[in-house]
Amino acid sequence: MTALLSFKDVWVEYGDKIVLERINLTIEEGAFVSVIGPSGAGKSSLLRLALGQEAPTRGTILLDDIPLAPECGPDRGVVFQHYSVFPHLTALGNVMFGLECAQSPLLAKLTGAARRQAREEAAAMLEEVGLKEAMHSYPAQMSGGMQQRLAIAQALIKRPRILLLDEPFGALDPGIRNDMHQLITRLWTDYKLTVIMVTHDIGEAFKLGTRVLTLDKWRHDPHAPHRYGAKVVYDIPLERNKQESLSQDDATQPLSIVPDDAGITIDRFDNN
């Protein structure tokens, strides 16, 4: 498989605080990369870089071997950690938005048959995330988990080439979370997406990913805590989950080998 996204010696700094340090990373087309690491390590920062929301302080990021513009576009979909949806649109409106933008450049509003079709598609996606009955609710009328699912539905309906997920299932109960796992795996296989997912659930990381990255500070100086940034300290490929091997298989099979978290979270405190 070819390199879709590559980070070349990337640094992220805020003032004199080093957050990410010397990140060298190549993500292949069709990969499902799980990113884990302690709170404050820089996982969200890494996603922001890939999204084009922020430019690295040093280093370059290449998308298809072309330097990434500090701009995000429809090739990348995102679910933010603080899941944000459009407060002025109903659930249905939020999900339809992407379809409308693509099909109606001028008004971003559809009419007639096109509208009906987009509506159906959006309704189907909402049903998949379990929001069928909240279709006409505004985000302010939804619970936390419902808003999160809405954000997922909104990103998934576009089938973006790269999907960036920042703790997408954090506010969901195990049952619904499992359904979401199935959904995302199905879309990932069907549409050959590339997924980068930040999660705190190590089981989830290993269950879904074809590769698990662990971000953490590689050194810690108690007198100058901001001197050292996080690096990729573990990079575990999981052949088992690769799309080829999954294609005949059921993606939702439970994984038997979920590593204990003790080995992965190295220094839990003082990461900030």
């Binding site: 999204l51 929301q53 701009e71 995000c72 576009g73 429809p74 990348r76 979909g77 995102v78 933010f80 603080h82 944000s84 459009f86 407060p87 002025h88 649109l89 938005f97 992407g98 409308e100 933008c101 693509a102 450049p105 001028l106 008004l107 971003a108 509003k109 505004y138 985000p139 302010a140 009328q141 909104q154 990103a155 576009k158 973006p160």
Partner: protein, 271 residues
């Protein structure tokens, strides 16, 4: 219960809101009565009787020459100017405000200019204004627009610029172009604020309208006030001012109501 938590029902709220106004009216009556006791021909704080008498003619007796009921003709003329001015300002605030708030290059280029225009007191430019727009309706409407539009533009632009960055990013990942972002994300979210801005501009709009009518007009609430001011006819001025306040308050209420009805998403929170 702590004061922050003392919710007041709508009907009680209306009642409580009336208290200070009633008190003020009573205070006025007491002072006016006192002044009249000292000087029965006092003109500055007329008693209600005098006001009713003075207003009667304006309200119900057609003007000999034109056959119009002056009070209503004044009201109509002023409201027409006011609505035109407010309408134009609102539209331009929406348009320019969106562009300014959303597009950094536009903001860089025109932000300073808008600030500049906003801080130039249009009253100082009155002579130029009348020369540029003539003595007709245009100049009056123009004064209102020049007076309030820059403020509204800046307010809307500020509000658009303060939209959560995440929303702008997300819309782009969903394929929205700058234009689509503007009309589908920024525009609808800024509409409630636009109504707010209109509310806040109502006061200044009246000020500019009255200033314009004071200088060049032959009809209008402001014209009448400045006309009779030569005679210190407070018995006409005060009812006119009260009427303006009433009109403005009703407008304000309509705007609040519209805001609540038209944008349920902005008010359907958890509260």
């Amino acid at each position: 219960m702590r004061w922050v938590n003392r919710h007041v029902s709508r009907s009680r709220s209306a009642m409580m809101g009336a208290i200070p106004i009633v008190l003020l009216v009573v205070l006025y009556l007491v002072i006016a009565a006192e002044r009249h006791a000292a000087n029965p021909s006092d003109k500055i704080l007329p008693l209600p009787g005098a006001m009713v008498e003075a207003m009667w003619g304006l309200l119900f007796v057609p003007d000999q020459l034109s056959g119009r009921l002056l009070f209503w003709a004044d009201t109509l003329a002023s409201l027409q100017r006011l609505f035109l001015g407010l309408g134009i300002s609102t539209l331009s605030a929406l348009l320019v405000g969106l562009l300014l708030g959303l597009l950094p290059p536009v903001r860089a280029t025109f932000g300073t200019l808008v600030t500049g225009i906003a801080v130039i007191p249009p009253i100082a430019l009155l002579p130029i204004l009348f020369i540029a727009f003539g003595l007709g309706e245009t100049a009056k409407v123009a004064l209102i627009v020049i007076g309030i539009a820059p403020f509204m533009i800046r307010d809307i632009a500020g509000h658009v610029a303060a939209l959560p960055r995440e929303q702008i990013l997300k819309a782009q990942t969903l394929g929205a172009s700058t234009w689509q972002l503007m009309i589908r994300v920024a525009l609808p979210q800024v509409l409630p604020r636009l109504i707010e801005a209109v509310r806040l501009s109502l006061g200044p709009a009246w000020v500019f309208l009255i200033s314009a009518e004071a200088i060049a007009a032959d009809i209008g609430l402001g014209y009448r006030i400045f006309l009779v001011r030569r005679y210190l006819a407070m018995d006409v001025i005060l009812p006119y001012v009260a009427w303006i306040a009433l009109l403005a308050a009703v407008l304000d209420m309509i705007l609040v109501w519209t805001n609540r009805k038209a944008f349920p998403w902005a008010h359907g929170g958890r509260r």
